[in-house]
């Protein structure tokens, strides 16, 4: 069993090395930034794939550009801005808050708030309507007494 685990762990490290072999980085931090960026940037040609995943020509070009920019020491935000500048907001999987996209953030909150508001309002209305008079109290006492008598017999 131990041997199996050992062999499996070897496999994992080998595949990790293989990925790094294809692209050469100066340090580990660059490799991480590159891998994060290629997963976050969206391929403009084969939609709904990120550029790490896609085999399209443009995805390869974008990967190469990201690699060059990362090696240049550009931060993550700088690379993303560089791509948005050319390919529009579409190229990034995390859309910014603009007047056009505001509805994405506001609508879910609005629905929850309205829903709870509706529930609270309904409950308050229902509780206001119920009044408890002495007659009701008497009726209740009578019913309890009846019930007890039935149980005893």
């Amino acid at each position: 069993m131990r041997l199996v685990i050992f062999l499996a762990s070897l496999l994992i490290t080998f595949s990790a090395f293989a990925e790094q072999d294809k692209y050469q980085f100066d340090d580990k931090e660059q490799a991480v930034r590159f891998s994060e960026l290629t997963k976050e940037l969206r391929c403009p040609k084969c939609q709904n794939q990120n550029i790490a995943d896609s085999d399209a020509v443009v995805a390869k070009d974008l990967r190469d550009k990201v690699l060059a920019l990362v090696k240049d020491g550009k931060t993550k935000d700088e690379v993303i801005d560089y791509m948005i500048d050319r390919y529009g907001y579409f190229v990034h999987y995390d859309p910014p808050v603009t007047p056009a996209t505001l509805v994405l953030w506001v609508l879910p909150v609005l629905i929850v708030v309205l829903g709870f508001g509706f529930i609270v309002l309904r409950q308050r209305k229902a509780s206001v309507k119920q009044t408890w008079t002495e007659q009701d109290e008497a009726l209740l006492a009578k019913l309890i007494e009846q019930n007890q008598r039935q149980e005893q017999s």
Binding site: A56, V58, K60, R86, G88, Y89
Partner: protein, 189 residues
């Protein structure tokens, strides 16, 4: 009254949803917003497709309204639009080709021969019509990346000052021309 209105609310939401989804049926997912509209043509210095001793820069193109058409002989839609683009050229529209090559890339084909490419281009343009004043060869696709090009065919409308006014993805046909290009062209005349 209030209650009846409230009962109608789900129906209203449903109808709104239907309208939203229905128009989604006709939305074109290839129609992307792009970053370059309203901006200047990116700076470049690239060779002519037919003669590498001739070089073209962004400033060579200033002073005239033109279409920059991204194309390649490998792209069937580009072949399909050559006829109509040639008609446009005959009507006096200046069209510059940006040749999008992928065979040069070792990751894709790696088999690249500039003379074979030139022959290929010449025979295709002879057959289908030649709309281009000249063609810029972007072997490494650097200008294409700076323009936000994701494939071919794509077409940019650029004004005299070198500002990009329009970025169209897909072929140009009479319908697209009337709807997207003609109104802007009229304004520019």
């Amino acid at each position: 009254m209030n209650r009846k209105l409230l009962a109608l609310a789900p129906l209203l939401v449903f109808v709104l949803l239907c309208v939203f989804l229905y128009q989604g049926l006709f939305a074109n997912p290839r129609e992307l917003q792009t970053g370059r509209i309203g901006q200047a043509m990116p700076a470049f210095n690239l060779p002519d497709l037919m003669d590498e001793s001739t070089r073209w820069t962004d400033s060579d193109l200033k002073g005239e309204v033109y279409l920059l058409n991204v194309w390649g002989t490998w792209c069937p839609t580009c072949l399909a639009e050559l006829g109509y683009l040639t008609e446009l050229r005959e009507q006096g529209v200046k069209i510059v080709g940006l040749y999008y090559e992928q065979g040069y890339d070792p990751d894709f084909d790696g088999q690249f021969d500039i003379n074979a490419l030139r022959e290929d281009v010449t025979s295709m343009l002879n057959r289908a019509g030649d709309p281009y004043q000249f063609n810029i060869l972007d072997l490494k696709r650097t200008l294409a990346l700076d323009l936000g090009v994701s494939g071919a065919p794509e077409t940019f409308l650029v004004d005299k000052q070198g500002t990009i006014l329009l970025h169209h993805t897909g072929d140009i046909n009479p319908r697209v021309w009337r709807a997207k290009f003609a109104p802007l062209m009229q304004e520019l005349q």
